[in-house]
């Protein structure tokens, strides 16, 4: 029974509890619904979030690897380019160095060579000095020559004077003008007078006669030997006799002997010359003898022969020699 009571109480209490529980639950049903929704939404969100984050992570991984890949490719490219540029810069710098050196060298050697110019200018200065020295020496030489000539002229003038004043020389009895007894030594003119040999002056042909036909004197530059002062000319022709050139004997043509040779032979070897001595009329005698021989031997003698014998001295000489042999025998 107890259990029945319990069950009856439970049966009566049951709807009350049910109602009570329902009413309680009803109070909180909304809220619990909301809460449950919330929890469910939250959980779903979590699931989705987890899914999304998973996706994100995977996407990130993909993007990461992809970006790394492309970036590395790009960097590799950049590195290549930078390397290339670095190399080019290096080359260019080296090329610039070479060109710089070359251009400097070329300019300095060929276009504007400072040392060549310097040595050229030094050379010019040296040449100038050389020429100056040479010209100075030349001038000295020329001046010496001129002085020499002047001295010679002076001396000639003095000699001429001495020759003209020869009569003033001092004699034993009477001292001359230049040899005054009050002087310690004779004047130089006196000494000259003593040295100089007297020459008879020859007179020039008077100039006036030569003029009209000859060379007019204002225009007379054409004397080939015309020297400056007139007295040199007169001294030349007055003081010395006109010297004739030696008579040059004309040489004989042919193989004749010298004039003295035959005489020498005659003196030295008189025996040999005997045969050559001939008489005055020897020629005529020889000719007569020949003619007689001819008349004797003539058979086919032409009229020309005797004349030939007359004119041909060589054959005549031969005939003479034959005659001498005949005479000797």
């Amino acid at each position: 029974m107890a259990e029945l009571l319990k069950i009856e109480s439970e049966i009566t209490a049951f709807p009350k509890e049910l109602f009570y529980r329902n009413s309680q639950v009803e109070d909180t049903r909304q809220r619990e619904n909301q809460v449950a929704t919330r929890i469910q939404s939250w959980f779903r969100a979590c699931k989705v979030r987890a899914y999304l984050s998973h996706l994100h992570k995977k996407a990130i991984i993909i993007q990461k690897t992809w970006r790394g890949f492309t970036a590395r490719a790009r960097v590799r490219q950049m590195v290549k380019a930078a390397y290339f540029i670095m190399k080019m810069n290096f080359y260019e710098e080296m090329a610039v160095r070479i060109q710089r050196r070359w251009r400097g060298f070329f300019q300095r050697k060929y276009i504007h060579n400072f040392y060549a110019r310097k040595s050229y200018l030094q050379g010019v200065a040296a040449k100038n000095d050389l020429l100056r020295r040479e010209l100075d020496e030349l001038k000295k030489l020329q001046r010496r020559e001129r002085d020499c000539l002047a001295m010679v002229k002076e001396q000639e003038a003095k000699v001429y004077q001495a020759q003209r004043l020869h009569h003033l020389i001092s004699t034993k009895q009477c001292p001359g003008v230049f040899n005054s007894p009050f002087r310690q030594a004779p004047h130089e003119m006196e000494l000259l007078l003593r040295q100089v040999k007297y020459q008879v002056p020859t007179r020039l042909a008077p100039r006036g006669r030569a003029r009209p036909q000859g060379i007019p004197s204002p225009t007379a530059l054409s004397f080939p030997g015309n020297l400056g002062s007139p007295w040199t000319k007169t001294s030349r022709t007055c003081c010395s006799r006109p010297v004739l050139s030696p008579i040059t004997t004309k040489k004989q043509q042919g193989l004749y002997r010298e004039p003295g040779e035959v005489w020498e032979q005659q003196v030295q070897c008189p025996e040999l010359m005997w045969g050559l001595e001939t008489s005055y009329t020897y020629l005529e005698e020889a000719q007569n003898q020949l003619q007689q021989q001819e008349t004797r031997n003539r058979k086919y003698a032409s009229p020309w022969e005797p004349q030939q014998q007359f004119f041909c001295s060589a054959s005549l000489h031969q005939q003479e020699l034959q005659k001498k042999e005949l005479i000797k025998e």
């Binding site: 020429l131 030349l138 009209p212 036909q213 000859g214 080939p224």
Partner: protein
């Protein structure tokens, strides 16, 4: 009283029939008398021409003996020497052909007289020279050069020189007959007058063109001709200098050839020794040399050409010689700052300025000195040389001077100090220039090189400005 003209006519008409006299002596004396009369003055020579004596003379030239030929040639020469018209009259009556026939004679006196006459005819102008050349005189003249008589050589050289001097074609004709070689052989002849004519002939040939000058040089005249620079006779020296000038003016290569023989010292000594007009060829030669290139100008400077030219400038009084000297100096100094410095150290810039400013200088001299001054100033960076010019120069020169200062002063501190202490800065402040003009820009450039206070100190009127400030100053 008979007038002089009537006397002359009477004399001429009396002498004329004597030319046809039977006795040869009388003919010759009559011709000689005519020659001397014509030689004396050009009236008489005209009278000779008017009386128709020349055709007679020319006709009888062909047939007579050598004394007559000499006298007749003398008459022709005496007539031709006075003026071109008289020479033309001589040519018109066939005188040139007759004279050329005389050149073929054996007697040297006749040849000399004929050559002399041809020389006087050819001297006047190119046309007459051409007529002489057309008559075939040139080969005969060259043959005359080879004759042993010195007088004949002289006259032949002088005639060739007169023919060559007019035009290049005539000179070429003479050269084609081989005259240069013969002339070159006679350079070392001891006779002074012959050398004069030879050098004169060579210089007339070489003056026309580069080719002719090269041909003259190829005859190897130098260095033998340089010995004649110290000859006794001054005209020989002058003609050698003229020859060198004519050769040098054509091209730098020819100048190099001459310089390599040391000709510079010869020329400078020559300019030193002589005076007056004789110096002119030497001075002009230096100018032409320097004009070609800067190393030739430097060679002139090294051979102490610039002090010599300064001496010439101070000694000579004639304007044309001064003008030539000024031109030469300008050519030397215009190349680089080194050259300009060499000119400035010889104190030539103030002298050039003085010549430019002097009212009594001729126009030519003024123009040349201005040009020379400008060209030297544009290259001059030698500050002590530029300073004296600040004071007296007119504005057109001053702007160049100030321009040069503005180029030099920014870089050289010692020069700046010198500029201030010598009063140059003060002078620059006193210059009035229009704002915006180049002069003002240069002045500003100079002022920028110095501190502000210094510039203000030297501005004119600074002391008054300071005193004004003092008046307005109130003690606080």
């Amino acid at each position: 009283m008979m007038s002089q003209r009537q006397i002359i006519q009477g004399v001429m008409s009396m002498l004329r029939p004597l030319l046809l006299d039977v006795v040869p002596n009388i003919q010759q004396t009559a011709a000689l008398a005519l020659g001397r009369l014509a030689d004396h003055s050009d009236d008489l020579a005209e009278a000779v021409v008017k009386e128709d004596i020349l055709p007679q003379l020319v006709q009888s030239l062909a047939s007579q003996n050598r004394f007559y030929k000499k006298a007749a040639a003398f008459v022709l020469r005496a007539v031709a020497k006075h003026s071109p018209e008289l020479a033309q009259a001589v040519v018109a009556c066939g005188g040139v052909d007759a004279l050329v026939l005389c050149l073929e004679e054996f007697d040297p006196g006749v040849k000399e007289a004929a050559t002399w006459a041809l020389g006087y005819i050819a001297r006047h102008n190119a046309m007459l020279s051409q007529s002489v050349v057309d008559a075939g005189a040139v080969p005969l003249l060259v043959l005359c050069l080879l004759e042993p008589e010195i007088a004949l050589k002289r006259i032949a050289a002088s005639t060739l020189s007169d023919i060559c001097k007019h035009t290049p074609e005539l000179a070429q004709t003479v050269v084609d007959t081989g005259a240069i070689a013969h002339l070159a052989q006679m350079i070392l002849n001891p006779d002074a007058k012959l050398k004069r004519q030879v050098f004169s002939a060579l210089s007339q040939i070489s003056k026309h063109s580069v080719n002719l000058a090269e041909m003259v040089i190829e005859a190897e005249i130098f260095p033998a001709a340089l010995t004649s620079l110290r000859d006794q006779d001054e005209y020989v020296r002058k003609n050698v200098a003229t020859l060198m000038r004519e050769v040098v003016k054509h091209s730098p290569e020819l100048s190099q050839v001459i310089i390599n023989y040391g000709a510079l010292s010869g020329v400078i000594d020559y300019v030193n020794d002589c005076r007056g007009n004789l110096r002119l060829p030497g001075i002009m030669m230096l100018g032409y040399l320097a004009a070609h290139s800067e190393n030739l100008a430097m060679a002139v400077i090294i051979s102490k050409g610039v002090p010599q030219l300064a001496l010439c400038l101070s000694e000579e009084s004639e304007h044309h010689i001064k003008a030539a000297t000024v031109w030469s100096i300008g050519q030397i100094g215009q190349h680089t700052p080194e050259h300009a410095k060499a000119v400035a150290t010889a104190h030539l810039l103030p002298k050039l300025l003085e010549l430019y400013m002097d009212a009594s200088s001729s126009e030519d001299l003024q123009a040349k000195s201005k040009k020379a001054l400008k060209s030297i100033l544009q290259k001059c960076t030698y500050v002590p040389g530029l300073e004296p010019l600040l004071y007296d120069a007119p504005s057109n020169i001053l702007k160049h001077v100030v321009c040069q200062f503005s180029k030099v002063l920014p870089h050289d501190s010692k020069a700046r100090r010198l500029f201030v202490t010598s009063g140059g800065l003060k002078k620059v402040q006193e210059i009035e220039a229009e704002p915006g003009s180049a002069l003002q820009e240069h002045i500003n450039a100079i002022n920028n090189c110095f501190p502000e206070e210094l510039v203000r100190y030297y501005t004119p009127g600074y002391s008054e400005a300071l005193l004004e400030r003092l008046d307005n100053y109130q003690l606080a």
